[in-house]
Symmetry: C2
Subunit: 201 residues, 2 copies
Amino acid sequence: MKSPIDFYFDFVSPYAYIASEWVEALAARHARTVRWHAVLLGATFAAAELKSPLAHPLKREHMLRDIQRSARFEGVPFAMPDQLLASSLLAARVFWWLEDSAGERAAAAWGRAGLRARFTRGVALDDPAALKTLAADSGLDADAAEAAWGDARWKVRLKRANDDAIAAGVFGTPFFVVDGEPFWGNDRKPQIEQWLAQGPF
Amino acid sequence: MKSPIDFYFDFVSPYAYIASEWVEALAARHARTVRWHAVLLGATFAAAELKSPLAHPLKREHMLRDIQRSARFEGVPFAMPDQLLASSLLAARVFWWLEDSAGERAAAAWGRAGLRARFTRGVALDDPAALKTLAADSGLDADAAEAAWGDARWKVRLKRANDDAIAAGVFGTPFFVVDGEPFWGNDRKPQIEQWLAQGPF
């Protein structure tokens, strides 16, 4: 059995959203699975002494254009949310609650649902009411999800996930680790594909 | 006649070096030419309030690995220079001297020669003696090149090139503008290729 692809994402990362729409199919074509990791860019940026790319003049304007063009390039539906800088804390805690209580596939499904909700329908994942509705629409027990995101246990679990990601070298998302090899960015898809098809290069 | 591809590079940018090895062939396949622009990342980083990516923990380690892997992915010879953060001031002034006195193609040839010298043979472009040798090896009048890089006229010309680049939205290199559309990064090659082949998307 080949090792899974580790896929690190933040629910507020637009490039992670684009990658989330191709990573499962790419992995499946090469007999791999995907292990999703919800992290907070705030934590990885702090470790790398980075600000959000959107905080930089020139880079911000380019990025807003590039995100939308990159989504079209990959054929992924995309609508720019009103607030690009929002908190994904609650959604990420729900992810780790699901990971530990319902398993990897349930957590990954929540990851996909959250990213899609945010980047195709503008759902505000930092709004508790909107998040409960999304949980219910995703087939979860919305009250249990709410209890989870307020529970110190999943706060600690997310903190550990951030620490583990930083220890693995993650400073931004999407970030992939394939057979120990790190790849950063939605734009590393061709390199990941070559690695999966032909091995190390 | 289709418009040329504007290609912004700094002689010390490893990703610009990789791109410099494919941009001419890509343009030619689509009946385009390339207009090279030597700029200083120090100036564009300042405008965008950025530090070098190499100044950031985690990102630095990833980048050193990614540069070498990206060169292999493109089939481009690459040897990591001893000093990744070096000054390209003199080489860039020579570029604009050539651009204005010998024309675009002479300047582009110097751009290619300088990037190759730095990233395949470790030539220190900030060492005047090494730079004179490179100028002579490139068929230039080495004394005239030395006079040019010390001449206030080309200092001012390079300053204007940096200002023009920043006005065009350039914050890092390689940076491309195709039909008014900006693309940042060696990794935007597939998007540029699609644009050239099929038009705007």
